[in-house]
């Protein structure tokens, strides 16, 4: 699904990623952990196609094709989704209108016909229920006036609506209380299957109690310094990042 080879990237002239190797297979969930400033978010942003990040070396293959050469919208249309750490507020664009345009853009890209208005509404309601979101959000402007937790829930709601093959969750748990973490995890777990893959970027082990990963990677100073099974996260929790280096 996703192969990252020797990835180096700069932000504002400073090298942040210093040679990342990672392979995420179809149906797998990997957790990427690491202290602040280790490069977790930079990796997520490079994968989503943010322009202010400069890749200086290496490559990223998604389903065998170079992901870095695709425009952000093309990545999404091909089934890549990122849950942002800080979702943008967009006044005047309603959640419904936004998602309908997104769903139909992706369908158009894949040569499918547009979704029927009633089917769309049904789908929205179903996914909102899954994430325990109030239906009033449908008509509200995107992320405007949403609390931190509501924004994160809205990200996972979008993921549920777009049904991506590869999802990158960038610190989706930060700012969430334990109940919200359970709800968000439920949303993620409902999409887990033999054809979907997840890269879960997190600072803390607790999210991984609910989204149990197949593999855990530890990122430090722009490199993966250790990989292992789900127990590695528990070890981290116990010994801290210094203890596993």
């Amino acid at each position: 699904m996703l192969v990252i080879k020797n990835l180096h990237a700069k932000v504002g002239g400073k090298e942040i990623l210093k040679g990342i190797h990672l392979e995420l297979k179809k149906g797998e969930v990997h957790a990427l952990m690491g202290p602040n400033g280790s490069g977790k978010s930079t990796l997520a942003n490079v994968l989503s196609g943010r322009e202010d990040y400069e890749v200086t070396q290496g490559e990223v293959l998604y389903e065998g094709k170079s992901l870095l050469h695709m425009a952000p919208e093309e990545r999404a249309c091909k089934g890549v989704f990122q849950s942002f750490q800080y979702p943008v507020e967009i006044p005047g664009v309603s959640v419904t209108n936004f998602l309908k345009t997104a769903v139909n853009s992706i369908k158009k890209y894949r040569g499918e016909s547009e979704i029927d208005a009633l089917d769309f509404l049904k789908l929205m309601k179903e996914k909102m229920k899954l994430l325990q979101m109030d239906e009033v959000f449908m008509s509200r402007s995107l992320n405007v006036g949403f609390s931190g937790g509501e924004k994160k829930r809205n990200e996972i709601f979008q993921m549920a609506m777009l049904e991506p093959k590869l999802s990158i969750l960038d610190e989706t748990d930060s700012g969430l209380d334990i109940d919200a973490i359970k709800i968000v995890s439920q949303g993620v777990n409902s999409l887990r299957g033999p054809h979907t893959s997840f890269l879960v970027i997190t600072h803390y082990q607790r999210l991984l109690n609910y989204i149990v990963p197949d593999k855990v990677h530890v990122l430090s100073d722009g490199k993966i310094i250790r990989s292992g099974g789900k127990d590695l996260a528990l070890l981290l929790e116990e010994k801290g990042y210094d203890g596993v280096g």
């Binding site: 919208e73 999404a76 942002f84 967009i90 664009v93 345009t101």
Partner: protein
Amino acid sequence: MTLHTVQDYVSQYKSLKQSLNGSVSPWLKELKDSAIEQFQKQGFPNKKVEEWKYTDISSFLESSFKPRHHEDSERIRGDLAIFGDGKENIEPFIFEGLDCYRVVFINGLFSKDLSKIEDLPSQVFLGNLQEFIKCHPHIARNYVNKKLHSKKNAFTSLNTALFSNGACLYVREGQKIKKPLHFIYFSTNSNSAHYLRNLFIIGKASKVTILESFGGEENAHYFNSVVSQIVTQEQSQCEHYRFQLEGKNAFHISDLYFEQGLKSEVRSFLFGIGGRFSRQDVNVPFTQGHAQCFLKGLLKPKGSQVIDFHTLVEHNVSNCVSDQFFKAVVEEKAQGVFDGKIIVAKGTKGTQARQINKNLLLSEGAQVFAKPNLEIYADDVECTHGSSTGQLDQKALFYLKSRGISEEEARKMLIHAFVSEIIESIPQEAVRKKIDHIVFSS
């Protein structure tokens, strides 16, 4: 290229005067004489005049427009014959699903055939100003007078001198007119100048909705000069819409006055979309207390268009409310101007005045001149204002694209979001839909 001079327009007035041949009442003749005199004194405004600092009229002065007079019967027949059987030219301006009374002017001339003024309540006059002056000279005289051309605007003086007709509405006391009144001013490729003088009087405690659409053949070259007075008497309510959708080569210069009575309420939506060059002045000189005026405007110039809005709100008396909300979206090499002035007179109390202006520039060559201008000489005032100009939010654009939405569609969504604050607040659904379509297809 030779520029047309004040003298050229004065000669036009002289020949018009001859053709009038005493068919105009002495008071109106006197008014017109004084207006042309005023115009001569004022001359065409140049960039040294504060109110015209951002508005370069040289493209107007380079253009030749034939004057048109109501006596010119052969031409009238010619113009109207084009529209005699087909209504297709005014079709684009009609609001689907909205049953309206309709008054149509073609090249500044009243068209009875295209108008729809049957079944009006007897308390209402709807039609053209010429006829109104004939039927109600004393009422007309109260409003069509020297008051307006004492102002700085030379184009208003010129209009007063050269107009022969215009739209007219007179609603007596206590009339709530359910059907909106739609005024369509359509122009063909006539190379002519149309001087329209419009008078709308809404009687005490009456309520009306006025829609005005200005438009023309796509590449038609013409000049529309428009002076309008909307008089709202005590406790009356007026919902007003103006769609400036002139043809691509057209010039449009208008001066609009809201003359509000005690406790009257005006809600006006102003759209500047068409024309090669347009300048719209909107004046709210409060002289009666407890009146409220809400102005919302949207300017959307593209190509090399110039769209200019000037507002002047004068709180001359206590306890009035004014609220202005103007947005501009400027594309390509176009230019937008919003110059909004609020004056709160000394000794007045309880004024509430608000003015918000937000502008969006979509390309490097696009320009906007925003000039909020407040002169407050009273203490007891609640006054807020703000002006901002920016570009599309790159972070928002990226967010939309990251969900699979194309660059083009994402830009469209963000522009839509920017103007929706104005469009979504339109109470009439048919109008809202129509303007939404116009804004995004133009």
